[in-house]
C-alpha cells in the first residue's frame, strides 16, 4: 500500500526548501556588489529583482511551513531534488532579464547547466554580456559544484538536526569530518584557498598573454570556478580557444584534475597524507582510464592526419580528453570540428571518458572511478573464484582512504548506479535520434548532458527543439544528483496522487 504524504511531510519539506532558497537569495548579493562596483546598473537591477523574488519566496515558505521536526531520509532527498529545480527557476531570472537568452526555457537550460556544472550553453552574443551576469554564470557553477545544500548548511543550518540527509542527497556519500557542518565548512575552506591561488595563477598567465589587468584576473576567477567545479563555462564564446595560450591550457588541465579528485582525498592531502594519492583506488582507476581512453583517441586521430605534428595531436587530443574525463567541458576546438573532423573512434574515446567521469564526492558527473574500480575488482574476484579450487576463499580488498573488504552490497550498488547512468545516456541518445540527429551526435550530446560534461558536437544551440532542451535539463539534474533524490521525488508525487491515507 502506498501512503499519501502527510501535511507534516509537506511542512518539513517546505521549511527546509525555504531555508535553502534564502541561502541562494543571499548569495546573489555578490553579483550585485560586482555590478555596483563596475557601474553596470541594468544588470544590478536584474539581480535585485531576482534577489527580492527569491527572498520573498524563501521567507513565505519558512513562515508557512515552520517546523522544528527533524527531516526524514525521504524528506531530505525531496528537499534536495526540489532545491536544485527551484534554483534553476530562480537562477534563470537574471539571465533571462539580460536579453541574451532567446527564451526563459533557454535561460533555465543555462541555469541548470551552471548549477549542475555541465557547461552546455544556449546564451547568445556572450561576448557582450555584462561582467555581472558573467560572474553569476560562473558563481552558479561554484555553488552547484560544492552543492546548493552545502551553501545553506554553511549559512543557516548549523545545529539543525537532519542535515546529513540533505548532504547525502547531493550525491556526497562521504563526510570528511564527523560533523556535517564542519565538513561543509572544510569544503568551502579548500575551495576558497584554491580559488585564490587559481585566480592569481590564471590572472598572471592572462597578463603575460597580453590581456588587460582587470580582464585577466576576472577571467582567472571565472575560469578557475568553472574548471575546479568541472563546469566548463567561460566568459567568452570561444571557450579556451579565446586565450590562444599553451600556459592557459596547462593551468586549466591541472585545475580540472584537482576538481575531479574526491574531497576526502583533498582532506588527506591537506592533512599531510600525500601517499594516499598513489594508493587510492579512484586515482589509480582515473589514471588507467585516462591512459586507455587517450590511447583510443590518439589511435583514432593518427588515422586522420589532420594535425601537423605529434605534439599538436597530443595537445588537442589530451586537452579534450582530460576535459571530457573530468566532466568539465572546456575545449580548444569548435564543436563543428569535433564532429566534422574527428573520426568515430576518436569520438568514441571522448564519449567513454565523458561517461566514466571522475571521483565520487567531487564535482564531476558520470559513473565515477570508485564504481569502475569496484566493478573491476569484483570481476577479478569472480574470475579467481572460477580458477581456484572450490574450497578456496577469495577475499578482495580495495584501498579508498582505508583498506576496505569488497562486499556484495558495494558491488550491487556500484552496478545499479552504473546501469542507471547507461540507461540515461542511451535514453537521451534515442530522444536525440527521434528529433532527427545521427546516432553518434545524439549519443555524444546525451552523454555530455547526463554526465555533466558540457562538450558539444553542435546539437545544443538556441534553435534546437524545446522538448530536447527539457530532456537535457532533466538529464543534467538527474545526473548531478545521481538519481536517488530524483527517484524519491517521483515516488513522492506518485504517492500524493495514488496513495491512501
Amino acid at each position: 500500500m502506498i501512503v499519501k504524504p502527510s501535511i507534516i511531510d509537506i511542512k518539513n519539506i517546505g521549511y527546509y526548501l525555504g531555508k535553502i532558497i534564502l541561502g541562494l537569495g543571499f548569495v546573489m548579493i555578490i553579483p550585485v556588489i560586482m555590478g555596483l562596483a563596475l557601474n553596470e546598473i541594468n544588470p544590478v537591477l536584474d539581480f535585485l529583482i531576482t534577489m527580492s523574488i527569491t527572498l520573498i519566496f524563501g521567507l513565505i515558505l519558512t513562515k508557512l511551513c515552520f517546523t522544528d521536526k527533524e527531516l526524514t531520509w525521504m524528506q531530505g532527498m525531496i528537499v534536495v531534488a526540489l532545491s536544485w529545480f527551484v534554483a534553476m527557476i530562480l537562477g534563470a531570472i537574471p539571465l533571462y532579464l539580460s536579453g541574451h537568452w532567446a527564451s526563459y526555457l533557454d535561460a533555465c537550460f543555462d541555469a541548470m547547466s551552471g548549477f549542475a556544472t555541465t557547461g552546455l550553453i544556449l546564451v547568445q552574443d556572450l561576448d557582450h554580456l555584462s561582467f555581472t551576469h558573467n560572474l553569476w554564470r560562473h558563481l552558479s557553477m561554484f555553488i552547484g559544484g560544492q552543492g546548493i545544500v552545502i551553501v545553506a548548511i554553511s549559512l543557516f543550518m548549523a545545529g539543525i538536526p537532519g542535515v546529513l540527509k540533505m548532504y547525502v542527497g547531493e550525491a556526497r556519500e562521504e563526510k570528511l569530518l564527523p560533523n556535517v557542518i564542519h565538513t561543509a565548512r572544510f569544503i568551502w575552506l579548500v575551495s576558497f584557498v584554491y580559488l585564490l591561488l587559481g585566480t592569481i595563477a590564471l590572472g598572471v598567465i592572462g597578463l603575460n598573454n597580453g590581456m588587460k589587468p582587470f580582464n585577466s584576473f576576472f577571467h582567472g576567477a571565472c575560469i578557475f570556478m568553472a574548471a575546479f567545479d568541472t563546469g566548463g563555462f567561460t566568459p567568452q564564446s570561444q571557450n579556451i580557444l579565446y586565450y590562444h595560450s599553451f600556459a592557459y591550457e596547462i593551468a586549466t588541465i591541472v585545475i580540472m584534475l584537482l576538481g575531479a579528485m574526491n574531497f576526502k582525498l583533498h582532506y588527506h592531502l591537506w592533512t599531510g597524507h600525500r601517499r594516499e594519492i598513489f594508493r587510492n583506488i579512484e586515482t589509480s582507476a582515473l589514471f588507467v582510464m585516462i591512459m586507455v581512453c587517450f590511447g583510443v583517441v590518439v589511435f583514432g586521430l593518427s588515422q586522420l592526419n589532420i594535425y601537423p605534428s605529434a605534439i599538436t595531436l597530443f595537445r588537442k587530443g589530451f586537452y579534450q580528453l582530460i576535459s571530457a574525463h573530468t566532466g568539465t567541458g572546456y575545449s580548444t576546438l569548435y564543436s563543428g570540428q569535433l564532429i566534422g573532423q574527428w573520426n568515430h573512434l576518436a569520438l568514441l574515446g571522448i564519449i567513454i571518458a565523458m561517461a566514466l567521469g571522475g571521483s565520487t564526492s567531487s564535482t564531476t558527473g558520470g559513473i565515477k572511478m570508485l564504481r569502475v574500480g569496484i566493478i573491476f575488482r569484483a570481476l577479478q574476484q569472480d574470475i579467481k573464484k572460477i580458477i581456484l579450487p572450490p574450497k578456496a576463499i577469495v577475499v578482495k580488498k580495495l584501498h579508498h582512504i582505508k583498506e576496505v573488504f569488497l562486499e556484495d552490497k558495494q558491488v550491487r550498488s556500484a552496478l545499479s548506479i552504473t546501469q542507471i547512468y547507461l540507461i540515461l545516456y542511451v535514453a537521451g541518445a534515442v530522444a536525440g535520434m527521434m528529433f532527427g540527429y545521427p546516432l553518434l551526435d545524439a549519443l555524444f550530446e546525451s552523454t555530455s548532458a547526463a554526465a555533466n560534461v558540457g562538450l558539444s558536437c553542435g546539437i545544443t544551440e538556441p534553435a534546437m527543439p524545446a522538448a530536447l532542451k527539457i530532456i537535457y535539463i532533466f538529464q543534467m539534474w538527474a545526473g548531478r544528483l545521481e538519481f536517488m533524490a530524483i527517484f524519491t521525488l517521483i515516488g513522492f508525487f506518485v504517492a500524493a496522487i495514488k496513495g491512501e491515507r
Binding site: 537591477l45 529583482i49 521567507l59 557582450h128 598573454n209 589532420i306 601537423p308 573532423q341
Partner: protein
C-alpha cells in the same frame, strides 16, 4: 638624435615592406571572399592553407605577443582567432564588450585548420586588415520599468519581513 632618425626611417621601411608584401599576396594569391565562421569551420579541409577574407567584430582583448597580436573576430555566429602583426592592429580603437561595440574589420589572410605554429588551433594568419566600420561606446540607459519593479518588490519584501514576526 641619430638613433631617433634611424628608428623613424626603420619604421617607414617596415611599413613600406609590409605594404609591398600585402600587395604581392593580394595580387598573387586568390582570397576566397564572403566566408562566414560557420562555413570556415564546417569546410576547414577545403580552405586549409588558402587565402580567405573574413569579416567581423573584434571582441575581447587584443592580446599582444611580441611583434604580433591575437584578435578574436566574431561574425555574429562564432569568433575566430586572427594572428596579425601588431602594426596591423594599431588602428583598432574599440573591441566588443558589454560597454562597447567593437570595430568591424575585414581580414585577408591564410586560413589554418590546425595551425602548426599555434598548437593546432583553427586560425587565420592576417596579411591585411582593414576597418570597415568603427566601433562605438554603448549608451546604456537605466531601464525604469526594472527600477520600478525593484522598488515594488523591495516594499513587498520589507512588508513580509515585518509580518513574519507576528503569528
Amino acid at each position: 638624435m641619430i638613433y631617433i632618425k634611424y628608428r623613424v626611417q626603420h619604421a617607414a621601411w617596415r611599413r613600406l615592406c609590409a605594404a609591398l608584401v600585402y600587395f604581392l599576396f593580394c595580387a598573387g594569391a586568390c582570397f576566397a571572399e564572403g566566408l562566414s565562421s560557420s562555413e570556415l569551420i564546417k569546410n576547414a579541409d577545403k580552405y586549409n592553407g588558402q587565402g580567405v577574407v573574413y569579416e567581423g567584430e573584434v571582441v575581447g582583448d587584443i592580446m599582444l605577443r611580441g611583434d604580433h597580436a591575437w584578435l578574436n573576430v566574431d561574425d555574429g555566429k562564432k569568433a575566430i582567432g586572427v594572428w596579425a602583426h601588431r602594426e596591423l592592429t594599431n588602428n583598432i580603437s574599440y573591441t566588443g564588450s558589454y560597454y562597447t561595440r567593437g570595430d568591424i574589420i575585414r581580414v585577408s589572410g591564410i586560413f589554418q585548420r590546425a595551425c602548426p605554429e599555434h598548437g593546432g588551433d583553427l586560425d587565420i594568419h592576417a596579411q591585411g586588415l582593414e576597418i570597415i566600420k568603427p566601433g562605438r561606446q554603448f549608451n546604456r540607459i537605466i531601464n525604469t520599468r526594472k527600477l520600478n519593479f525593484v522598488i515594488i518588490l523591495f516594499a513587498i519584501l520589507i512588508l513580509i519581513w515585518i509580518l513574519r514576526r507576528y503569528k
